[in-house]
Structure formats: structure tokens, C-alpha cells
Symmetry: C2
Subunit: 395 residues, 2 copies
């Protein structure tokens, strides 16, 4: 398996395009992915009870297991928009059906942007009329952004059944410049051959240790969506569970998802640093992941890291307030410096550690000595810029 | 029942003092409350698994139901300090026993400040030697502060059994200027006559709707403690449950606790505004309180209010991500302006609402139309100052 240059249309049988539909002032804001043939589709969605209209629509597509196209707009989330919002999702899919002949039952629709505002359907229609089958595939990664400061992509290839199988992923993080803008969206294409059921099982399981382990500000958006399309155009035989081929495929998907997840964390609103927490010695993996995420989500830990302040007490306090088991014997390393051993403070060079905390990747390692469970989580620091981005009224 | 001027020693039979034990550079840092006779004691404590040494000690005092003195130091939390920390709590109580003759089994010890640092016992001993029985009772409210910008006190009196019963409370909020400083501490004295069991029951129940409903940054400290002493020196008969007298007493305690809780929220680190969320129409009170607290704790809601930005979508999203029941019919008012009705956006004057959001008290009212449960929560906005306070390395 190796990383290659590419875009979301790099796997065989995929095309993509991106246009400016005037939803944003001047940037690309409407992206489109199409497969030559119907692809196996799998998806995971926000658990927010106030899910957006497109999320409800896409859940049905995923239930059917087949999709051939994905259309994504930024700037307007189409969330908390009632009946009209639901109708606009269907209209969008129908417009694509008219233009490209792909059944609206095979088109996933995604939105990200302001909550509580209706999609401007005249602009969406005009934008769709400009889409072409072999268009600006590189632009897709840009068209889905809101306040992200950079595009987030990865492309991989591996040999499976002696043929080259490719996989590409793009995503956007939760960003807010306009009020209410949020959302994590990720799209992954591959020319591997795999059933929708096995694809869904693999996606769901890997989501637990990748996208579900990142946090920027603890808020779960109304629109979060991850979709994977596998169109089989590599022409390999079907990948079955418990085979060497499946192991390779799963590794590709794991690397794609964890790379995208870390890119979202590093580009969190106002962030200057990526924080990685590795926690071991918990009773089980689930509680290890939960505690790792609590540490990386603590405002006090996040501000301390912004300030390059080695005040480890905040990390221990974050563990103590969230653990549902006893933690009498904690070991803690920050940037490879041991600061706590057997729950007893260790003398360390605070000035040196403060210097190390000025780096742009921060590694926190915790051993709770209470079992064999382990897990990781990723986040970012909490900065003046975060407050600025989210406090300014710009609409 | 009416509010009166007073301090923590205003109820009959209480005295208090405060001195500078040089734990802080120049402010009062050691406070002392004493009752003429052993008092009924009740307490609630942090649920953080990494609780501080004094918390463990005080839990035993409360279990016995009687206390006569409370000693509190600020600047050092005596948390994550191992065996030595536990011994220093006992030593502190013993020093008071030597000086005032009060059994160390009747003395509660509280600390707030830096985590992971041992109490400087020479300074504590010197400070205790300076304490006197009728000292600077007004200073007590100052001696317990860390980064609070003001003292937080209330005194009440009411007629019970045709006699005047008094109650006083003081507290401090969670503040951090030195790294790792945290803690909510509250102390309440009353000359009412009541059993420790009924006092504990009343305190525990009122804690759920007062102190447990405030949030500054979502972190629960290692030292949070609320202690109530009732010494009976008003010489009224014992207050029993399900009586008119009990109703008055409970109302006094409720007002004392909710006043102190709101003062902590309003003086949260870097805060410019108090936020009050009132949520009704939940299936039960518990979920109403939980959701109200989620709203007031959301970083996105807190930054929006700092920026006087009426982006109600963040409030709805905070509800959606935390509700464990369906919420198809939400009504939302901000500063008495209706913005959402039957989960459908209402046209409102955004400029007017933005003006109203510049006030220093922000009222958010939510009706979920899903039951009869209701609850309130209090918090504060998230500001540049919060980041500054918590990012600066000052030790």
C-alpha cells in the first residue's frame, strides 16, 4: 500500500466536478462525484436528533446499498428547514437525474453551512446546469469547505488480487465564520469490489476509532456525514471477509479515514496545534477511547496547550471527572517527558517541557494501570482565534 | 424571609476569622469558621475520581453528622499529593485542636489552588497561630478566593417557631490564573435546629437544581465542596420534615444556594454575561436540567453570546446532540424574542435581538413540547479573556 497523488476521481470509473453556484461570494461551492456504474455505498451519519434534511434522505440511499452520484453544496446546511427543506433535497436529486440520467434513488445529497436557511433552489439549479461529467475533479475538495483553511485529501493504492486498487478521500471540518456553520463531511471513493454490507460493517467499525475520536469544540453538527462508494471498476473479484484481500482493503480504508480525521483536528477553528492523546491501561478499549476524547476535549487542557503550559493537573482532573472506575495509579507523559508516576508528581524540567509544548504536534500519553484497554483521540488547542471566529456576527 | 447584611458569622453562635498565611503573595488566604457548640453538618462533594486529600477527610466528618469548625486555605489544592497530602490534612486539624480545643474529628479542612503541590505546613502552622476566635469574619469570603473577581455572599433571616433564624453563605468559583487552580467551594452557616440527616437530605436535593446546574467550562474540579453547619443557637425547637417550619427553612437554603450558584456563574473566568437557560416540555425534570446545562455549556453558544450574535441554530444543535428523545416541535425565545416556533424559523429583527444580547443577563427559554419536565441552568459567555487566563503560564 502506498500514498499517491490524486483527487476524489482517481479510482477507476469515477469522475468529479466543482463549480461556483454563487452560494458563496466567490469560491467553489457545489461539488459533484459520479461513478460510471452504480457503486456499493456505505455511510455513517450524525447522531444529532435535529439532523438535516439531506441526512434523512441519504440514510435511505445507504439502506438500499447502491449509489452512483453525490452532490454537495456548501454555505447552506438545509437543517431545521421543515417540509420545504426535505422537498429541496428531492428536487436537487431530480435535477441531476434530468441532466445526467442517474436515478434520483442513486444520488446522495449533502449540505453544509448556515442552519435554518432554505436552499436557494434557483442557484442550485443554475449550478447543476454548469456541471459536466469530466470536470474540475481537483476542485471538489475545495467546493465542500466552509471555514477550513485548507483542503483535506488522500489517495492510496494497493495490490489486491494482483491488480491495482485505488482509494481516495476528501473531507471538511467543522468551521464557523458565518453563524451556525458547522459540519464534518467526508467522501471516499474506491474502485475495489465489495458488497454494501461488508463495506458498511467496515466503515462503521473504523469510524469508532477515527472520525468519532476527533473533537474540535465538543459540538456535534446536524449534518455530519461520511459516505464511501466502491464501484468495482478495478475489475478485481469481490473482496470477502476474513481473507488476506480484505485485510489489505481494511488497512487502506483505515489509513484513509485516520488521515482525514487528523487533518480535520489539526485544522480545527483557530487551531495552532494538533493534540494526540494515547491512553492505555483502561478496563476496555471503549472506556480508553472515551477518556482519551475527554482529555483532548477539555477546554482547560486545550487552553494550557495553546499557552505551552505544562500544567498536567488539568489532564489528571479530566480523567478523574470522567472515569467510571477507580484510577489510583496513573502514569503520564507529555512530549515524552514523564510528569506523574504511580499517581505521584515527578520532578521535571518545566522550562524544557514548555519549550517542547511550542511544537505543532502535541503527544499526551496516559497509562491508568487498570486493565488492557487502549485508545487514541485527536483534537486541537483553544485559542483567541477560536473565540474570534465564533463570536463575530457576520451575516 | 428577607435578605440582611451580614457575613458567614452572622447566625447566632458562629465566629470567623481570616489571615494572610503567605500562601498568596499578599491577599488573605486562610479562613476559619467556628461554632460555639458542635453543629449538625451536611456536605456534598466533587464526583471527580481524583478527589483531593481534604475531600476524603471531610467525607468522614459529614458521615458522622457533627462539626464545629471549618478551616480553608486558598493557593494550594492539596490534590494528587499522595500519602503526604493526606497526612497534612490531619496535621491541619490537629493544629486547630491544639489552639482552640476543638476535636480534630469535628473540624472540616478545605483547600483550593494548584494541583500536585504539597501544602507548606510551616506557613499553615504560622497562619493558624494567628487565628483568633472573634476575628475578621468579613475577611473569610475573601480568604477563600482564587481568581474570582469578587466575593460572593448572602445572608437571610426568617421567622421560624416565632423566633428569628439566620442563614449565611459564602462561596468561590472555579478560577485559574495559576496553572491548575480550580474549585467551587461553598460554606453555609445557620443557627436553625435540624438533624444532620434532614440537613443532608435537603442539601443533596437542592444541590441538583442549584450548584449542579452551573457550568463555567465543563470541567469538574478535584476539590468541589459544599458544607452546611446548623448549630441550633437560635434556640428554636428541632425542625422536622413535612412541617410549615421545614418549608421555610428549605426555602432559605434554596435561596442561599441558588444565589451563590448564580454568583459563581456570573463571575466565571473571563465572563462578561450571566446566561440563564429555562427549559420546559421535556419528558422529565432530570432530562430538562441536563439539556439546559448542555445549552449553557456549549462553546458555540457561549462564544455567540459573547459576540451578541443571535444565531439560534447553535442552541437547537446543542439540544439535538444531547436529547435521548425525539424533538420535532421546538419553541425558542432569546431575550423574550421568539425565533423558532413548531421547529420552524420565525422572522425576527436580528439587529434588535443583537442589541438585546449586549445586556449582561441573557435569558434563553426553550419549550420542547415533549412532556412536563422543566429545569434551569446557569453559565457565562466564552471570551478572549477566558483563553488568556487559562493559556498564560505564570508559575
Amino acid at each position: 500500500m502506498k500514498e499517491i497523488n490524486g483527487n476524489i476521481a482517481t479510482p477507476a470509473g469515477f469522475t468529479a466536478d466543482a463549480v461556483h453556484a454563487q452560494l458563496k461570494y466567490k469560491h467553489l461551492d457545489l461539488g459533484f462525484i459520479m461513478s460510471d456504474v452504480p457503486a456499493a455505498v456505505a455511510g455513517v451519519f450524525t447522531t444529532n436528533k435535529v439532523s438535516a434534511a439531506p441526512v434523512k434522505f441519504d440514510k435511505n440511499i445507504v439502506k438500499n446499498g447502491k449509489a452512483q452520484a453525490i452532490i454537495v453544496n456548501s454555505a447552506v446546511a438545509n437543517a431545521v428547514t421543515g417540509e420545504e427543506g426535505a422537498k429541496n433535497v428531492v428536487k436537487t436529486a431530480k435535477l441531476l437525474e434530468e441532466k445526467f440520467g442517474i436515478s434520483s434513488n442513486l444520488t446522495a445529497v449533502c449540505s453544509t453551512g448556515v442552519i435554518g436557511v432554505q436552499l436557494p433552489m434557483d442557484k442550485i439549479a443554475a449550478g447543476i446546469s454548469k456541471l459536466s461529467k469530466n470536470g474540475n475533479a481537483d476542485g471538489f475538495a475545495e467546493a465542500i469547505l466552509t471555514t477550513d483553511t485548507k483542503t483535506k485529501t488522500i489517495s492510496l493504492e494497493a495490490e489486491i488480487f494482483d491488480k491495482t486498487v485505488k482509494m481516495s478521500g476528501v473531507c471538511k471540518g467543522s468551521g464557523m465564520i458565518h453563524p451556525n456553520m458547522a459540519t464534518m463531511l467526508a467522501f471516499i471513493t474506491t474502485d475495489a469490489t465489495i458488497s454494501p454490507e461488508l463495506l458498511q460493517k467496515t466503515l462503521s467499525s473504523l469510524t469508532e476509532t477515527t472520525f468519532n475520536q476527533i473533537t474540535v469544540d465538543g459540538d456535534t453538527s446536524t449534518n455530519d456525514t461520511v459516505l464511501v462508494l466502491a464501484n468495482g471498476c478495478s475489475e478485481i473479484p469481490e473482496i470477502l471477509e476474513n481473507t488476506a484481500e480484505y485485510d489489505i482493503f481494511k488497512e487502506m480504508l483505515a489509513q484513509t479515514m485516520s488521515t482525514l480525521a487528523k487533518k480535520i483536528a489539526a485544522d480545527g477553528e483557530g487551531a495552532t496545534k494538533l493534540i494526540e492523546v494515547t491512553l492505555s491501561g483502561a478496563p476496555d478499549d471503549l472506556s480508553a477511547r472515551m477518556l482519551a476524547k475527554k482529555i483532548v476535549g477539555s477546554s482547560l487542557v486545550k487552553t494550557a496547550i495553546f499557552g505551552a503550559d505544562p500544567n498536567w493537573g488539568r489532564i489528571i482532573s479530566a480523567i478523574g471527572q470522567s472515569a467510571i472506575f477507580e484510577v489510583p495509579d496513573i502514569e503520564l507523559e507529555i512530549q515524552n517527558e514523564l510528569v506523574l508516576y504511580h499517581s505521584t508528581p515527578v520532578n521535571f524540567d518545566a522550562a524544557l517541557l514548555s519549550e517542547k509544548l511550542k511544537e505543532d504536534k502535541i503527544y499526551i500519553k496516559v497509562d491508568l494501570n487498570a486493565g488492557n484497554g487502549s485508545g487514541q483521540a485527536w483534537g486541537c488547542d483553544l485559542t483567541y482565534k477560536y473565540v474570534e471566529i465564533n463570536a463575530l456576527y457576520t451575516s
